[in-house]
């Protein structure tokens, strides 16, 4: 290698500063999307005969209820934690080209397994019992998702179909498990599990300020998971294979990657994340399991993952936004008497606008650099 190529290769290593367009897509579009969604939300309220003062009050409540106090922040984080966990799994799936609709079911199965471990093994110290219960949740969720992965790899059954079916099965399975004498709470005829023992509960973090603050140490599990997924996706050979299979399965196959194995691994990992989200709910929020504890988190997680562009940091941000909307939405109800359904509308609008950056660019032309037609040659 001569000097010329040496100096050239040095130059090639330089990273271009992130383009204006990237910045706009990552930051400006979401900000505008939120603004547009809020405006249209206000229009929706007007259309249902809510007066302007109440609308103003409700948006103040939205902010106050999501970040306006220690309790608000605690609630935002509590709601965001399971969403982020489950959608990290979704994100890995998306990166690998798998559309896992089954987070809801995996979350239920994982949460259920965590509860069972959580109320068994009395007398175990927390530092053994809690990790054990969390791992049980992750493993159960992972195995459950692995069924869909295996079906896809071995038979070609599409994971969208199989995970939807597994969701339906999980509802009944949880119903059934909750009625087993070893699981069902004594003296109850309805499906409700025994209570998780103290040693397996995710300790609350802010009880020293106010016993009502629900924020629990699942937050740390979530933060570790964000880092772990980032590392997995971008620093390891597993992640490289996942991303390659997702971006161009044919090229991945030509590069000697084994698509079947990758599909199974990705599904198991996604299921494990959803399972952890379930464990987070049962061990940290509810302390027990009932049929409805998944609360649609597995479906919201799809939106969060899409919103976060399947990037761990993006998922974290999107999850926090959704958590804030949930906590703030509650306050909107209390302070302004606005229906909780409105929050769902606003959430949906935000997703629509973030998913359609071109639309946002059209609405706010002054917010963006003048568009240039990107084209080669």
């Amino acid at each position: 290698m001569n000097e010329q190529t040496e100096s050239l290769s040095e130059k090639l290593l330089q990273r271009a500063a992130p383009g204006r367009v990237d910045f706009e897509d990552m930051v400006v579009v979401p900000v505008f999307a939120v603004i547009v969604a809020l405006i249209l939300g206000a229009v929706a309220m007007l259309a249902t005969n809510v007066d302007l003062a109440t609308i103003g009050r409700s948006y103040v409540a939205l902010v106050v209820g999501s970040v306006g106090s220690v309790n608000a922040i605690s609630e935002t984080l509590t709601a965001a934690t399971p969403l982020v966990l489950a959608s990290l799994g979704m994100a890995v799936g998306f990166r690998a080209g798998l559309f896992n609709i089954g987070a809801e079911g995996q979350l239920l199965i994982g949460g259920m397994a965590a509860v069972i471990v959580g109320f068994s093994f009395a007398g175990m110290p927390t530092y053994v019992h809690l990790p054990l219960a969390l791992i049980a949740g992750a493993v159960a969720g992972g195995l459950y998702a692995g069924i869909a992965g295996w079906l896809r790899a071995a038979t070609g059954a599409h994971e969208v179909i199989s995970t939807i079916m597994l969701n339906l099965m999980s509802y009944r399975l949880v119903d059934y498990i909750l009625r087993l004498p070893v699981v069902q709470r004594e003296g109850r005829a309805d499906p409700i599990s025994r209570s998780v023992l103290d040693s397996a509960e995710l300790p609350r973090l802010l009880e020293w300020i106010d016993p009502n603050l629900r924020l629990h140490s699942g937050l740390f599990v979530m933060l570790v998971a964000v880092f772990l997924v980032y590392w997995l996706l971008f620093k390891t050979t597993f992640g490289f294979e996942f991303r390659a299979s997702g971006a161009n399965p044919e090229a991945a196959r030509y590069a000697g990657m084994r698509s079947g194995l990758i599909i199974v691994i990705v599904m198991v990992f996604a299921g494990a994340m959803a399972g952890l989200a379930g464990a987070n709910q049962t061990l940290g929020v509810l302390g027990r399991a009932t049929p409805g504890f998944s609360a649609g988190i597995g479906f919201d997680a799809i939106a969060v993952a899409l919103l976060g562009r399947s990037h761990p940091v993006g998922v974290l941000m999107a999850g926090l936004l959704f958590g804030a909307l949930e906590a703030g939405g509650r306050q909107m109800q209390v302070d302004a008497g606005v229906s909780i359904d409105l929050i769902a509308i606003i959430q949906a609008l935000i997703i629509v606008f973030i998913a359609a950056p071109l639309l946002v660019r059209k609405i706010f032309p002054w917010g963006f650099q003048k568009e240039t037609r990107a084209g080669k040659e």
Partner: protein, 343 residues
């Protein structure tokens, strides 16, 4: 009415006083309600309980707020967001909020709570549970059904196998059995086995289709009177009765007098087993306002009007005067304890 009758009068007086004295100023008493996942407009117990708050707003001039729960994980969060002194009493609606209410009440001993359809044993000092001896009214409904049925078969089904549901079914079965024992009839009840605690359940509280299908099943097995204990699900059963004709299938409503709340299908209801949650909620608010609030249990019974059998309305003619007389006797017997509704 109820054991808190005297206080109610006092409260009423003071309430009227407030109303007269401060028509402009904001109310200085706030009652807050947390619904379960059925929502505030469920045509059933969330709505009935909220009517109690609305009644209090009207008669006592209080402020009322509610929070709807989207999912089970919201219960605790919703209760917590009402803490902090903004609510003088927090009313949680539904058996399923039992755990969350208990946790919040224990963490906040100074906050007054009341829960509909749940009671704690041992009692929590700042929670007043509102439970209903619906089996008393259901017992009467069972006796009535056994007396009216022409096929000799009546049916029932529930939403979820939980005590507030099955208590209706228990009373209903026992009422039928009482009729059989007294009159030597042999009327059978489909859909609930008192001993094994198993029966017919839709496992939801919202599918009208299920209500229709379950009633159809019971009708196919010969039942000509059906008691659906599943909130709005029963509306589906009523639709079926409407199509078949009331001579083939009659429905017994629950919670509210469905003849009044479901006017489109009112002709299919033989009667309704009413659960006056609005009355008990109003009582709780009055007690909290007058300072007589105490933790424990408030039981709605036939005797105090907390539960009742609704009038027969259009079906008046179907029920013989003799049967009406017997029902009056039973009501008396249940109230004075001479008849046990527990079978």
């Amino acid at each position: 009415m109820l054991e808190l009758q005297k206080n109610k009068v006092l409260a009423l007086i003071s309430g009227v006083g407030i109303l007269l004295g401060s028509t402009v100023a904001a109310a200085d008493f706030t009652a807050c309600q947390v619904t379960d996942t059925g929502g505030i407009d469920d045509n059933s117990f969330n709505q009935t309980a909220w009517k109690g708050v609305l009644d209090a707003q009207e008669t006592l001039g209080i402020d009322g707020r509610f929070l709807e729960s989207q999912a089970e994980t919201d219960y605790e969060a919703n209760i917590v967001s009402l803490l902090g002194g903004q609510c003088d009493v927090i009313i949680t609606v539904g058996f399923l909020l039992g755990d969350a209410t208990q946790a919040a009440a224990e963490a906040n001993p100074d906050q007054k709570f009341s829960i509909v359809d749940y009671a704690y044993d041992p009692a929590i000092p700042n929670v007043l549970g509102q439970v209903y001896a619906t089996d008393e009214a259901a017992f009467m409904a069972g006796y009535l059904a056994a007396g009216v049925s022409e096929t000799g078969i009546v049916g029932t089904f529930g939403g979820i196998n939980i005590p507030p549901v099955t208590i209706f079914m228990d009373g209903f079965v026992h009422g039928v059995n009482y009729h059989n024992a007294e009159k030597g009839t042999n009327v059978a009840v489909l859909g609930w086995d008192v001993d094994s605690r198993e029966g017919l359940f839709t496992n939801n509280f919202d599918s009208l289709d299920d209500g229709r299908a379950y009633a159809q099943n019971l009708y196919d097995e010969g039942a000509d009177i059906v008691l659906p204990v599943a909130g709005p699900v029963g509306l589906g059963s009523a639709a079926l009765a409407d199509e078949l004709g009331v001579d083939k299938l009659k429905i017994i409503g629950v919670d509210a007098d469905l003849y009044l709340t479901d006017p489109a299908k009112q002709h299919v209801y033989l009667t309704s087993i009413t659960k006056r949650m609005d009355a008990t909620v109003l009582d709780v608010i009055e007690a909290a306002m007058s300072g007589t609030f105490e933790g424990g249990v408030l039981v709605g019974t036939l005797a105090n009007g907390g539960v009742d059998l609704a009038p027969f309305h259009d079906m008046e003619a179907m029920v013989s005067d003799e049967l009406k007389k017997e029902l009056d006797v039973i009501r008396q017997g249940i109230s004075d304890g001479s008849i046990s509704v527990g079978g």
